[in-house]
């Protein structure tokens, strides 16, 4: 197989992981914005607790993506950097303010002081803006109109990113992040905080946001007929099985949420995101940026890509076990070496309790 294609698949997986982990981070910020009233404080705590140990690691996937892209497809990266200058600059500002705001408010000593309150607002506002512009940029690429007909990338071709299609996909990206986060937070609220009311509230939020995402997705698909014909053609032909699977998984997610099988719902929403991005990737194949940049005409030399792939494999050998360890310590209730005895006991007990309440 073509090494560039292999590398592209690896990058696409990184994109999926970023969407699943980083997307939930953004979504948590979204819910932070809407945490008002009686339970606001509790919700903030839940979100802090859920994000604290993992946000920085989640975020590195994005860096991996950027770096991977300019390694493997230098000329496509060049074109994207110019053509998406404005949305990316906004995304960048969003990411920067969001990351610092989260830390500043987490470590603010006086939790209700002005300092913490202001940064908290910054955190939630940028958590909404950033995925919106990421979605918009993706749609602008897919539309095939990002680069004007002479093939020279320009930064001031605004029509591509203010089309109805791009706007819908932007909002959909926000809604998807919110759904992801709500489902993660349901699990967190039930299993870590044991809070009945909070669990129910996030269940409702997940259902509503899921429905909104689905509607926007359908709308986006309709708009793509005229505005992103490449994608639409691809969806109908090559990607059709994946598109259908995406829809079915979405439905299944709603059903499991409805029946309160939250851990299964969490797995399903991850699969849903993966399939959604998968269907987009498949339908855009073989273009990196339709209609000018294809895998073949923008890939780096095969020897270089081979070295990169070897590098990635070596990196993953260190990375994956470490990542698993991180999540085992903080997120998964399975005993793992290195825990304190008291913590070991606490986790074991918690797992037993969960198994008794929800035999699955």
């Amino acid at each position: 197989m073509d090494v560039a294609l292999v590398a592209l698949v690896v990058l696409w997986w990184a994109l999926i992981v970023y969407a699943v982990l980083g997307g939930a981070d953004f979504g948590a910020g979204f819910w932070d914005l809407f945490a008002v009233g009686q339970s606001a404080k509790k919700q903030h705590q839940l979100i802090n607790h859920a994000l604290g140990p993992v946000w920085e690691a989640n975020h590195v996937w994005l860096i991996f993506l950027i770096v991977g892209l300019f390694n493997v497809f230098p000329s496509a990266f060049y074109a994207l950097s110019i053509a998406l200058f404005f949305p990316f600059t906004i995304v960048l500002i969003g990411i920067v303010l969001r990351g610092s705001a989260f830390v500043y408010r987490y470590y603010a000593l006086d939790e209700s002081g002005l300092f913490a309150r202001i940064w908290s607002r910054v955190f939630s506002a940028t958590s909404v803006i950033t995925p919106f512009f990421l979605g918009l940029s993706a749609a602008a690429v897919a539309s095939g109109k990002l680069i004007s007909s002479n093939g020279v990338p320009q930064a001031n071709y605004l029509a591509a990113y203010f089309s109805p299609f791009a706007l819908v996909i932007g909002v959909m990206a926000v809604a998807l992040c919110a759904t992801l986060a709500a489902i993660y937070l349901v699990v967190e609220a039930r299993d870590t905080e044991n809070d009945e009311a909070l669990t129910e509230s996030y269940r409702m939020k997940a259902l509503i946001m899921g429905a909104i995402t689905a509607v926007l997705g359908a709308l986006g698909l309709l708009l793509s007929i005229s505005e992103a014909p490449t994608i639409w053609q691809g969806m109908l032909t090559r990607a059709i099985p994946v598109v259908v699977a995406t829809m079915l998984i979405g439905l299944a997610t709603a059903i499991t949420l409805f029946r309160r099988s939250y851990r299964i719902a969490r797995i399903l929403i991850i699969a849903e995101t993966a399939f959604l991005l998968g269907s987009w990737g498949l339908s855009q194949y073989p273009y990196i940026i339709p209609p000018f940049y294809t895998i073949a005409n923008s890939a780096n030399e095969p020897t270089v890509i081979k070295v990169l792939l070897i590098g990635i494999v070596c990196g993953l050998v260190i990375l994956l076990p470490s990542l698993y360890y991180l999540f085992s310590v903080f997120k998964l209730p399975y005993p793992i070496p290195g825990l304190r005895r008291s913590e070991q006991a606490r986790q074991t007990q918690e797992r037993k309790k969960n198994e008794m309440v929800h035999p699955s």
Binding site: A40, K42, H44, Q45, N48, G52, P53, E56, V60, L62, I63, F64, V67, F70, N71, P74, S75, F77, Y78, L80, S81, I82, F85, F86, F88, T89, L92, I93, V96, G99, S100, F102, V103, Y104, Y106, Y107, A108, L109, E111, F115, A116, W119, N300, T303, V304, V307, L308, G311, I312, G315, L319, S322, L323, L326, V329, G338, R340, R341, S342, E343
Partner: protein, 454 residues
């Protein structure tokens, strides 16, 4: 209005100058954490644990800002310099990618370290600090090797205007890699050592002299003492390397306009390209030729050997270079006097006011040396981005409104810096944590709960 090229350069420079402060701490502080926590476990002295905890709390905030400012850079490479990134991505992308893995490992173990105090066993927790400092050092190595490549490009051939025959290994291990990476990593330890020592020296001056402050000061000064002499030696190697590989930069940094044998060293002063002289400088005859090649008759190439449009800004480069070397010399002097007095006074920490002020000054000066050193490297490479291959004016993006972008990012940096300093000062003023030793390891009670909720 600022021209676009100037705005892009200014934005890049500001972003890097901001980021490097956190990178330096990201390389240096984990080593300190590892040592002090190791000492806490070994000696069973809770004071070491108190130090570790306090540093870790500050590190959590600093590292996050390091990650955020680094993210700005990885975007800016593309957004501001797309032509550079297309070229560099094709040839020397590998270290950027490997750097990504190093960050990842660092972020994962940092998460475990900072949030795992009560979950992990004492030993497992300590072990988590090793991957943090190793990967911090590795990321510095990778990124600086990419920068070395910009100074001495290698591992590719240009045929018909196309970059071909790429060899990523040669690109990473380009001629200046060993010099720049070693010098940078040492710089991180020098700056971290003096930076932390300055904090404790300040407390010391104000009469806080219990064990906690003594141990903090001592550990930081040990790091500084070990790293500083090595740093000066390594800098000397860098300079001699430049004499051969980047003679333009060498000439600019030493303020040599006229090619000559028996060239003098000009210390201080203002290099003035219009008259070709370094005004107000202290000159040591023959010294430069000796430094460059151990021979007073060696001919040193001056800027007059090169076309005028290839000159970097010699005034800035020369002054930056002197500032770096001067700061380094001062730091070395402080470290030597400090430990000299320590030995003379039968192993008690010196409390001479002047010396303590020297330590306090050496802290910011070492950070200044890092910034100035980078000015030598980056300004000295101008007008090239990739030395000999890609000029800075050809590397810049065609996107408009770069001056607005520069303004916005500058404001963001000011905002982040003000908030950061405010927060760190508050953290520093908190009462020390209560540390007790139990059979499961150290139990730490922070004086108040730190969880937030608004």
């Amino acid at each position: 209005m600022m021209p676009d090229l100037l705005a892009a350069r200014a934005q890049m420079g500001t972003s890097l100058a901001f980021h490097i402060i956190f990178s330096v701490l990201g390389v240096g502080v984990p080593l300190m954490l590892c040592i002090s926590e190791g000492l806490a476990l070994r000696t069973k002295n809770p004071v070491w644990m108190m130090l570790t905890r306090r540093w870790a709390r500050a590190a959590a905030i600093l590292f996050a800002i390091g990650a955020v400012s680094g993210t700005i850079l990885s975007f800016e490479l593309g957004l501001l310099w797309p032509t550079y990134t297309r070229f560099a991505g094709a040839v020397v992308g590998l270290p950027f990618l490997l750097e990504g893995f190093a960050f990842f490992t660092e972020a994962i173990f940092l998460g475990l370290y900072l949030y795992g105090w009560d979950r992990l066993s004492a030993r497992a927790h300590w072990l988590c600090s090793f991957p943090i400092w190793i990967s911090g050092m590795a990321s510095a190595w990778f990124i600086v090797s990419a920068n070395s490549w910009m100074n001495t490009p290698a591992g590719f051939v240009i045929k018909n205007g196309k970059v071909v025959d790429i060899n990523p290994y040669q690109a990473i291990f380009n001629p200046s890699t060993p010099f720049e990476t070693v010098h940078m990593i040492l710089a991180s330890y020098v700056a971290t050592g003096f930076g932390m020592a300055a904090v404790y020296a300040f407390a010391y001056l104000r009469g806080k002299r219990d064990e906690y402050y003594r141990k903090g000061l001592m550990l930081a000064m040990i790091l500084a003492l070990v790293a500083t002499p090595l740093q000066l030696i390594s800098g000397d190697f860098n300079a001699r390397f430049l004499y051969v590989y980047q003679p333009v930069k060498f000439a600019a940094m030493e303020g040599v306009f006229r090619t000559q044998s028996g060239a003098p060293i000009s210390i201080g002063g203002l290099a003035d390209p219009s008259t070709g002289q370094v005004k107000y400088a202290l000159e040591i005859p023959d010294a430069l030729s000796v430094l460059a090649d151990y021979n007073p008759n060696t001919v040193v190439k001056g800027l007059d050997q090169f076309p005028r449009e290839d000159w970097p800004n010699s005034t800035l480069v020369h002054t930056s270079f002197d500032g770096m070397v001067g700061s380094g010399m001062f730091a070395l002097l402080v470290a030597l006097v400090f430990w000299g007095l320590f030995l003379l006074k039968k192993r008690t920490l010196p409390s001479n006011r002047w010396l303590l002020w020297g330590v306090i000054l050496a802290g910011p000066l070492s950070f200044l040396a890092v910034e100035l050193g980078w000015m030598v490297t980056e300004l000295g490479r101008q007008p090239w981005t990739i030395y000999g291959y890609l000029r800075t004016k050809d590397a810049v993006t065609t996107a408009p409104l770069l001056n607005v972008s520069f303004l916005v990012f500058s404001l963001i940096y000011v905002l982040l810096a003000v908030a950061l300093i405010w927060l760190l000062l508050k953290v520093a003023r908190r009462p020390l944590p209560q540390v007790t030793l139990s059979e499961e390891g150290y139990d730490v009670k922070e004086p108040e709960i730190e969880k937030v909720g608004v």
